[in-house]
Amino acid sequence: MSDVTELFHRDPLKMTNCDIDIIIAEMRKKRVMFNAAPLAAKKAAPKLTAGQEAATKLSLDIKL
């Protein structure tokens, strides 16, 4: 059981400032991770090969 999970099951009137700071730090860590997730996913996405990239492009060879 993590510190924070244990703290959420503890009587808040018996908590210290240090306990509250642990909870806040954990919530801030979750926020940083959440905000970083899209960038991490983008970095982890496999790059297209030259052939795949060419296949996804629209043909603009329009004759008027």
């Binding site: 959420f8 099951h9 009587d11 808040p12 009137l13 908590m15 400032n17 509250i20 700071d21 909870i23 806040i24 919530m27 801030r28 979750k30 926020r31 959440f34």
Partner: protein
């Protein structure tokens, strides 16, 4: 005048001889939606046995942010104010028995709105919005120097009617003043979500009250809405404004509703508005209204509890 209605409401400060004299946006909304719903909620004073998790979560969240800004305005730095309100909210969401002995955490009957996501949402909100800058949003200070937070108001309208409510915070944004309000939702927040606030009784009353209390042209309400999901909270800020003509129109409509309700109170007659039964996932009194009148009291006894909602009792 119905003696029965007078007896039912005699313990409420906002009622006099059965007539509601002090109206907040909730009671105006109830009366406009359905007179029967108003009757069950305000006259009989009923609420469903299962207190809505959305009301509990939204109430604790709004109180936390209101207190946060009050601590800030009184000189606390952001981290100190945040620590105070997280501790307060942890305590407010913990149950104690009549002897003050610890019972346990308040149960949130929802997958998204839980005690943990409540604390997370407070911390994330503060990290995103708490820093006040000269070109951003800042708490307005009254002529006395006091911060314009936690402003309960009771203002005299016409015909011995009082309009009352509570402004969490008034802010300066650009050259204008706005009331600030917090909302939470389990759904994605976009244009469609913010459309519900215009027209809207609560936002019009807040704007009207802000103008009357501050003697300043409060332009409207800034709504900080939080989308609560299992693993994240996402915030969107929306602004709803009211022109003078729009406010006059709302005011006339509100007084008309109050007048109609007074007439119905005299006659103890509470017609149902059948077109509103399905709104917002269904009226909580639908099971009562859909049963035959002779057995309605059975439903009320089994599914509802008394609540002490009284607009004139300060929060």
């Amino acid at each position: 005048m119905s003696q029965r209605v007078a007896d039912l409401t005699k313990h409420k400060k906002s009622f006099e001889n059965g007539h509601q004299i002090a109206w907040d946006s909730t009671s105006i909304e109830l009366a406009q939606t359905c007179q029967r719903k108003y009757y069950y909620s305000m006259i009989e004073g009923l609420r469903p046995n299962n207190n809505s998790v959305h009301l509990i979560f939204g109430g604790l969240y709004a109180t936390a942010l209101e207190h946060f800004y009050k601590h800030r305005a009184l000189g606390d730095d952001i981290d100190t104010a945040l620590r105070k309100v997280v501790h307060e909210t942890m305590t407010a969401s913990w149950e104690y028995d009549e002897n003050g002995e610890s019972v346990g955490a308040v149960y949130f009957d929802d997958t998204k709105k839980t005690r943990l996501t409540l604390i997370r949402t407070i911390v994330w909100y503060v990290d995103q919005f708490a820093e006040e800058t000269d070109d951003g949003i800042s708490t307005y200070h009254l002529q006395s120097g006091e911060p314009a937070v936690e402003l309960s108001f009771t203002l005299e309208a016409s015909n011995d009617i009082l309009l009352c409510g509570h402004l969490d915070r008034v802010v300066e944004y650009g050259a204008a003043l706005y009331v600030m309000d917090q909302k939470t939702s389990g759904a994605t927040i976009g244009t469609y979500y913010f459309n519900q606030f215009s027209p809207n009784n609560q936002m019009s009353l807040y704007t009207w009250a802000g103008q009357t209390i501050l003697h300043s042209p409060v332009r409207g309400v800034i709504i900080d809405a939080a989308q609560i999901a299992v693993n994240f909270t996402r915030f969107e800020r929306g602004i709803t404004t009211r022109s003078k003509d729009q406010l006059n129109e709302w005011y006339e409509s509100a007084l008309y509703t109050i007048e109609v309700t007074r007439r119905n109170t005299d006659e103890d007659f509470w017609p149902m508005n059948l077109s509103a039964c399905g709104n917002y996932g269904g009226c909580p009194f639908r099971s009562v209204c859909s049963s035959t009148p002779s057995i309605r009291q059975n439903y009320i006894k089994s599914d509802f509890a008394a609540h002490n909602w009284d607009p004139l009792v300060p929060r």
